[in-house]
Amino acid sequence: MSNVFVSEQSEAAAAGHPSGRLLEVEDLRVEFRTRDGVAKVINGVTYHVDAGETLAVLGESGSGKSVTAQTIMGILDTPPGFVTGGEIRFHGRDMLKMSAEERRRIRGEGIAMVFQDALSALNPVFTVGFQIAEQFRVRRGMSRGDAKKRAAEMLDQVKIPNAKQRINEYPHQFSGGMRQRVMIAMSLALDPEVLIADEPTTALDVTVQAQIMDLLAELQQERQMGLILITHDLGVVADVADRIAVMYAGRIVEEADVHELYAKPAHPYTLGLLESIPRIDEKGQQLRTIKGLPPSLLRIPSGCPFHPRCPMAQPVCAEKVPPLLQLGPTRASACHFAQDLVSRD
């Protein structure tokens, strides 16, 4: 389908944007102003995704991965959340400087989002057909009948059996996995260039998780979308992601090609995450964990935010914030000792 943003891309390139990337987040800063104080939720996040590429954003709860996504979508709850700095460029244009109407047009059509819990994310009082067809009617000006036909096609594409009948059912009449498929169908309705999937499988059974991940990967390949996959599950991302960005306390601490990251993590936090995956050859042994808890965002530790939990911490870690340094063409790490980590065997 032809897209309005294609022309804007060439304009952006003409305006001298060097990267020509599809979606770029640069030095994004978001804070939550609460009664207890200001929580710095995002502290300079930089990542990007190109067409046909899957970026996995990995992190514990509270690391800021979902808030980053909400900020990109423009659905951050304000108040308490405020963007205090940075840029989000879509086809080279900073969305944070766009008018509300311009941003609205990008939603669904340029960038779409799949939410974690489809049961609460779908409107309980409308049929799934209505909720999908609504986009065709409102955004594409289709008639009720055509829109409904397209909605059934969408359900078919996400492999829901009996799509024609099921569009007349309500979200609560679907099983968890089918409901997540509806959610995916809805987000893909307007053929978005970037899809953000915010923990799309967290609320599902393990067997269903794999099906949904496969479906997402397949649709992404077919449509050559940029996919941002937000997750806290390292196991989920290994098969589908091209690159991984690891987040901690509102920062990217490591970014790498998926194979590089698994083979040789360049940040102690990533190392800890990888070691805490249960392994079949260590059956019966105690699972390794990262000791301690993620920091309170109201009081982020000085220096490297991970230093209180880091097994490699040195005095310098409590004093200096390690910048995210490029270690190679596709990888970067925010650790003072990244070189040591990569070069050791």
């Binding site: 659905i75 939603r107 994310a121 409102v138």
Partner: protein
């Protein structure tokens, strides 16, 4: 669904007998002589009392009297007052006025209450929100008879904008102020209920989804948010209509509306037992039917609710 409705309708039968027995027994347990003061200054002549006692089976035990009464009622005969007026006729004359008043009150509650609630719920802590909160608190705190007398005095007597009392056939135009008085407390309640419901649902995930789909704000609010937020409000309005149909003794009294509330009050004072029972039976049935309608409406509004 059909079976559910049938079951609910069948449940009306025991309720019908239960309420009639209870009301019948209560009415006739009230001490006092129905013929006291019926014949002016003097006591009623014995022959008259004897005649009336025989005619209305007043010497029979209560269960027999009840049996006579029910036998007539089931053929549609509500009986007569001691003055010989047909009770069915009294109800037929008074009820339309009460229904008119109830719908005027309900419309005012719905339109003003909902609008105020939606606007204040969408902009919480704004000027309008505070205005709504204070004014509804004010309305909730004032009893109906105060609102009634004050408005009647100011609008009807002092400024002569309305006629202070309602004429016999109770045209809608004259029922607006009484309807406002009758609905004022529920209106305040509707406003607050809507406000809470809107404010709560506006943070719901599905509203965020609707925004993420790139829908215009008026559609997010007007379709996704409103439809969900109105469910509790509409249920409340339905129940309230059932209550309003029961007549408004105070409001009808203040504005002299010839409605069912005034009739029942008059019948209690003059010890017209048969009239009281007849009216209450009708009111109980109407209330139960309204409740059934509300339950069905609830299922129609929220597809997650299914009756089997």
């Amino acid at each position: 669904m059909g079976r559910y409705v049938l079951r609910r309708l069948l449940q009306l039968i025991p309720v019908f007998f239960g309420t009639t027995i209870l009301i019948y027994w209560l009415v006739w347990s009230v001490p006092g002589d129905p013929f006291a003061g019926k014949c002016g200054e003097r006591a009623c002549p014995d022959s008259y009392v004897q005649f009336m006692t025989d005619k209305y089976h007043l010497d029979d035990p209560l269960p027999i009297q009840y049996f006579h009464y029910m036998a007539n009622l089931l053929t549609g005969d509500f009986g007569q007052t001691f003055g010989g007026r047909d009770i069915g006729g009294i109800i037929a004359a008074a009820y339309p006025n009460t229904i008119k008043l109830a719908f005027v009150a309900l419309t005012i509650e719905g339109v003003i209450g909902l609008t105020a609630g939606v606007l204040s719920g969408l902009r919480r802590n704004g000027f309008l929100d505070n205005l709504v909160l204070v004014s509804t608190l004010f309305l909730l705190a004032i009893p109906t008879f105060v609102t009634g007398f004050v408005l009647q005095f100011l609008l009807g007597v002092q400024w002569k904008i309305i006629s202070p009392t309602v004429s016999g056939d109770a045209p809608i135009s004259q029922l607006i102020v009484p309807g406002f008085v009758l609905g004022s407390i529920s209106m305040a309640y509707v406003a607050r209920l809507t406000r809470t419901s809107i404010a709560e649902n506006s943070r719901a995930d599905y509203v965020r989804t609707a925004v993420a789909k790139g829908l215009p704000r008026r559609r997010v609010v007007g379709v996704h948010l409103l439809r969900n937020s109105l469910i509790p409000v509409i249920t409340f309005l339905g129940t309230d209509l059932g209550a309003l149909m029961g007549g408004a003794i105070v409001t009808e009294g203040i504005f002299g509306i010839n409605g069912i509330g005034r009739e029942v009050y008059r019948a209690i004072v003059t010890k017209e037992g048969a009239t009281v029972v007849g009216i209450v039976v009708v009111l109980v049935m109407v209330y139960l039917l309204m409740n059934l309608v509300v339950d069905l409406l609830y299922a129609a509004l929220d597809p997650r609710i299914r009756y089997e």
